[in-house]
């Protein structure tokens, strides 16, 4: 079930849309913001509000990489693996984070604190290697600074 507030925010988005399905991404993001990800149940609820079928909404949801259709941890680390970041040390950084947290790409720590994802270029090539944790951008990230960054997220 969507909360009243979620429904409210989605109807707000709907007001600005030529057709309800145009609000699909915004609506999914409303849910994701609150719950971290979009469960099947939420997807069906959102679809109903947008007069879409679950299949129609899921077709859109699964196309985009930052609509999560599987549970994620409290924080999502998006580590840029595109060429500039790659050449400035992505692989080492990945190994480091992965050892520290005990997870690989696509995985979530046992305490549900972090999910680690590979990201396509974050538009921060002058700060390579770069990564985002939730909405915050970090770069250049070095083995020295990584602990400090991670420690900000509980």
């Amino acid at each position: 079930m969507l909360t009243e507030q979620e429904k409210q925010e989605i109807s707000e988005e709907l007001k600005h849309c030529e057709r309800p399905e145009a609000a699909a991404i915004e609506a999914l993001r409303v849910v994701q913001k609150k719950r971290g990800w979009v469960s099947d149940a939420s997807l069906r609820d959102v679809a109903a509000q947008l007069s879409m079928t679950p299949a129609e909404l899921d077709a859109v949801a699964t196309f985009y990489s930052f609509i999560f259709r599987k549970p994620v941890g409290r924080h999502v680390i998006a580590l840029c693996d595109s060429m500039v970041c790659w050449s400035l040390g992505h692989d080492d950084l990945y190994k480091l984070i992965s050892t520290k947290l005990g997870i690989g790409y696509g995985e979530t720590t046992g305490d549900n604190r972090f999910t680690l994802l590979p990201a396509s270029c974050l538009g921060a090539c002058d700060r390579a290697p770069a990564m985002m944790v939730d909405d915050e951008l970090f770069g250049p990230v070095t083995p020295e600074t990584i602990d400090e960054i991670l420690s900000k997220y509980s």
């Binding site: 145009a22 993001r29 985009y64 693996d81 050449s87 400035l88």
Partner: protein, 426 residues
């Protein structure tokens, strides 16, 4: 040297508020335009300025606009869309403009929308540009409050509704027709052209998509005229350009310089040359989808035509350097991994060819390559070439690969022969 686009940008500080922006001469273009110019006038001036799109292809902006139906019989609703998707590896210039001077972008949007008589405008913002979103929203609110957006702007009778759409990720959203599908709430697969968006775009109505950097030039052209715009440019091309350099250089960053600035100037002077202990092996002039050039091309001017003549494309104008201590095979592999992941999955060569390329490169990089792989890669490059795929993503993806096969052939061969990557310790 004039730096119209970045003169207001104060690195590491908040951008100008509306008041500050107006004090610095902002929104003058909108005021002049709305009181003294017809849409046609604006179009004529932009055409005369020879402004070429900064989204990568360098298509003349005035010409692009001229395909939009105008006048009485034109559809009532038209759209202007700013492409702020910037997801191409190596490109980071639009972020700078978005975060640095949002009002400048809004002013440019009003100019463009007026010129084509659009009723609605969107900024299509990539996922992950949260700060830009915040700042833009603030600026848009200010503009609405001051009647620079919304109904009847400054009492001129011209109305414009501006909204931000934040993408949920996928490089292909930057392709203008895929972008339109994304805005309609669909899967962002591209549309075939023709029909061009100017005729049948968002919701089947006339639509123009322009890059952020293209748009921010517009107020200055209106203010200072076409001749001025040409005068601040270089030999071949008008205006300034936001150039960038990233990779193992001393001082990676962005600079606004006249069109046609020399590569050497950018890498050696602005970026301070290579980091200590590294030599320049090659560079990509404008993002991950442009062919490699080599130190032999240091004297190429960075404008659309000159880079083309040198065998690559200027693309976004943000140079990526490849140094001599980075494995070119690994580098290209990382690149193709990006393209593989970001393909929309609509057309066969891109959807199937890129994974094959990527896995082959991975095999070579990890010492499992075979000599026949090189022919295969060449063949796939041809198969994914321009015109063969549905959109330009795949041709862009194979450009760097085909030039890598040309310039780094020995590296490929040694990987295969020695069954491991020379840059990696065994």
């Amino acid at each position: 040297m004039e730096r119209p686009l970045t003169k207001n940008i104060r690195p590491n500080e908040d951008p100008l508020s509306l008041m500050e922006y107006e004090q610095a001469g902002g929104y003058r273009a909108v005021r002049t335009m709305l009181s003294t110019m017809s849409p046609q006038d604006v179009q004529v001036q932009v055409k005369a300025s020879n402004l070429r799109g900064r989204g990568g292809a360098g298509f003349p902006t005035g010409m692009k606009w001229s395909f939009v139906p105008m006048g009485e019989n034109a559809p009532k609703q038209k759209y202007f869309i700013v492409n702020a998707d910037e997801m191409e590896p190596g490109a980071f210039k639009d972020r700078y403009l978005l975060e640095g001077d949002p009002h400048q972008l809004i002013e440019g949007i009003v100019v463009a929308a007026y010129a084509i008589q659009a009723s609605h405008a969107y900024i299509f913002l990539r996922q992950g540009y949260g700060r830009a979103e915040l700042l833009l929203n603030k600026a848009i609110a200010e503009a609405y409050e001051n009647k620079l957006l919304g109904e009847n702007i400054l009492g001129s009778g011209f109305s414009l509704d501006l909204r931000i759409h934040t993408s949920a990720g996928r490089y292909i959203c930057g392709e203008e027709t895929a972008l339109i599908n994304a805005l309609e709430g669909k899967r962002a697969t591209p549309r075939a052209k023709p029909p061009f968006p100017q005729v049948s775009g968002l919701w089947g109505r006339p639509t123009v998509v322009n890059n952020v950097e293209t748009v921010v030039n517009l107020p200055h052209i209106v203010n200072n005229g076409a001749d001025w715009f040409k005068s601040i440019g270089g030999i071949n091309d008008s205006g300034t350009k936001i150039y960038g350099v990233s990779g193992r250089v001393r001082n990676p960053g962005l600079w606004e310089l006249p069109m046609g600035t020399m590569v050497s100037d950018l890498i050696e002077e602005q970026a301070g040359g290579m980091m200590d202990g590294y030599r320049l092996r090659a560079f990509m002039p404008g993002g991950a989808s442009t062919d490699f050039l080599t130190p032999d091309h240091m004297n190429v001017r960075m404008d659309f035509d000159s880079v083309m003549k040198a065998g690559s494309r200027m693309g976004t104008g943000t140079i990526t350097v490849l140094d001599d201590r980075t494995c070119p095979v690994g580098f290209v592999h990382s690149l193709e991994k990006f393209f593989r992941r970001e393909s929309c999955g609509w057309c066969t060569p891109c959807r199937e060819g890129l994974p094959w390329i990527e896995r082959t490169l991975q095999a070579i990089e990890t010492g499992k390559g075979e000599m026949s792989d090189l022919d295969l890669l060449t063949e796939q490059c041809r198969l994914l070439g321009p015109g063969n795929t549905f959109c330009a993503l795949a041709p862009g993806a194979v450009e760097p690969l085909q030039s890598a096969l040309k310039y780094f052939l020995e590296d490929f061969e040694s990987h295969i022969n020695n069954k491991h990557c020379p840059w990696k310790s065994i």
